[in-house]
Symmetry: C2
Subunit: 362 residues, 2 copies
């Protein structure tokens, strides 16, 4: 690892990528920043780095800001992928020829099946080098690019991470701990992947609020959008997610309990706990129906959960109903573009083999 | 027909039934009014009739107000059924033993498959008498019970009616014309049934506005609830409905053109024509998610259309997606309680036989 300095490539210069790249540089890491389009990094290149805002106010110098992924990956120890999860496959494809032995790739976050899809993509691309692949369950920061500043508004306390296989997790965590102490070991990528709470909260709430989003767009997303009956629906959907996880031997937190754990929200039902969560009050609803709550959370959340359920004989009618109406509403075949047992590379494995595959020799 | 006076039984003492019963009495018909529950007719019984409001201000004497269907049907020429369409099967079951030769039963309206379901129910109940069964495409009045008055706010200009088989339609229309000149001959019950515009407009708009209905409930249903993208979805759904109709040899009006025809609304798209329809401006959204827009229009609209489509090889993915998410949201198996090819008595017929069955020997 070239002594003490860890060299990091950050893939993606959106809200998250800029915050992470800036933070890493300020913390003394050597940072390359890659983005697919020139447009987003044009001014960063001109300035030679990123102006942080929020909790950090410093200007962060970057080693290299580029649209050339080969250049970005050259000589780095760690590749932090911070792109919408539906782009993970594409990122894996363009990185495949340029990854070198021993590099660690972490998806921030992986959503459902990120590491599995990336590994399968690398394997299919013919890459033979030993590369470590891991996924975080959530993104480390609450951050947003405002004007020319990458603002870090908050830092998560716990960011579970699992490598694929999880026998590699310890090694990955050892590296990530140098970045932040919030990174902790998850059991395996089924746990991180099937703990996808966004997939529970986001798409259904969009569907049941389409009219309001398009005609006013001015309401509190969780607070007003998740009404008692919508919350009831989400709880049914959540049970399907957890059932799929359980069949794969993974204990996941109910969405309702996750609210208690993360936000210390009180109440009996999911509805009550959402209403009790002050942090949700200010979260505005999307102002357009074309939104990552659909275009990220369906193909990399609901679709892989439903696909795994279908493969393992777990019925997911609630999840299916959301995928289907979104497919018709948006005219996008989410099952086709989304992650499936096939695109995760699991289509020849039985349940026990899947569990063995994600756990490795540990 | 006992000379000039037509004796009518009105089945159902809701908004529509009270208005129709009152109107008929005022027009000089002899009227029996039946309702399943005593509660709704208690005060009517005390008063011996119905106080009309709106266009008619008279007090209407009724011959008989009863929860006894045998009593209501005794000696009448015409049975006007004015109940939610999901109750048609029940009405047929309780009427079956008491219908007599030559009586005319008209569903006001039938929604999709009303007459077919009633005929099949009567047949299965073993009724052997010749009874005429017909369905209207819409209800004659715009009416509402307010306080103790049955207010008739408007009268439709055209109310297409078809008998099953349609070789009987002329006879039925001859009788209905004595009631109102708006009743006109439709081609057959496939035309009246598959011209179900409510099934196009109502359930999907509910689903996409669930959050708003439950959290505010204070918006214009058509005007604000049917946003451009919701309207786009409705147009896709409408094309499926019309495709099913076309396969059965029935030309139906597109929802978009129906708006032009009925309301003279201008614009190119469905969205524009809804926005141009001043009469929709004041139509408030339901204030509860449990509403006939779901519980009537899905089982007696979308479900039979989808069932016919499935039977005839016409794909209806948009309609299916609405049925499915409603099934999960409400926890009600709408496909099971709704009208299907089986409950319409068509399950042994090919396409040509269905057409022959509805047209009769004419």
């Amino acid at each position: 690892m070239r002594g003490e300095i860890v060299k990091v490539a950050v893939i993606g210069a959106g809200n998250g990528g800029q915050a992470l790249a800036g933070y890493l540089s300020v913390k003394g890491f050597s940072v390359n920043l890659y983005n697919r389009s020139e447009k987003r990094i044009k001014s960063l290149k001109k300035n030679g780095g990123i102006q942080l805002g929020g909790r950090f106010k410093e200007f962060a110098d970057l080693d290299c800001i580029t649209t050339n992924v080969e250049e970005a990956l050259d000589g780095v120890d760690l590749v932090m992928v911070v792109v919408p999860a539906q782009a993970h496959r594409y990122v894996a494809e363009i990185c495949a020829p340029h990854l070198s032995e021993g590099q660690v790739v972490v998806l921030n976050p992986g959503r459902t099946g990120g590491a599995l899809e990336v590994k399968n993509t690398l394997t299919k691309s013919g890459a033979r080098k030993k590369v470590y692949i891991a996924e975080a369950q959530t993104f480390l920061f609450v951050s947003r690019v405002v004007g020319s500043e990458a603002k870090i508004a908050g830092v998560k306390n716990v960011v579970p991470v699992a490598a694929l296989p999880s026998s590699d997790t310890e090694k990955v965590i050892h590296l990530l701990e140098k970045i932040h102490t919030s990174f902790t070991e998850a059991e395996n990528v089924l746990e991180t992947g099937l703990s996808n709470i966004g997939a529970v909260f986001h798409p259904s709430t969009m569907i049941f609020n389409i009219g309001r989003i398009e005609s006013e767009g001015n309401f509190s997303y969780y607070f007003d959008g998740i009404t008692p009956q919508v919350a009831h629906f989400l709880e049914k959907l959540d049970r399907e997610r957890r059932k799929v996880a359980r069949v794969l031997g993974v204990r996941t937190c109910a969405a309702r309990d996750w609210l208690k754990e993360v936000y210390n929200s009180c109440g009996i039902s999911l509805y009550e706990r959402i209403q009790d969560n002050g942090k949700y009050k200010g979260v505005a609803a999307p102002t357009t129906v074309v939104h990552r709550y659909i275009f990220e959370d369906i193909p990399t959340g609901l679709v892989p959960i439903a696909s795994l359920g279908n493969y393992l004989g777990v019925k997911t009618p609630v999840i299916n109903s959301v995928i289907d109406i979104a497919t018709q509403f948006y005219g996008v075949d989410f099952r086709k573009i989304g992650r499936t047992v096939e695109s995760l590379g699991l289509q020849k494995m039985g349940k026990q083999e899947i569990i063995k595959y994600v756990n490795g020799s540990a």
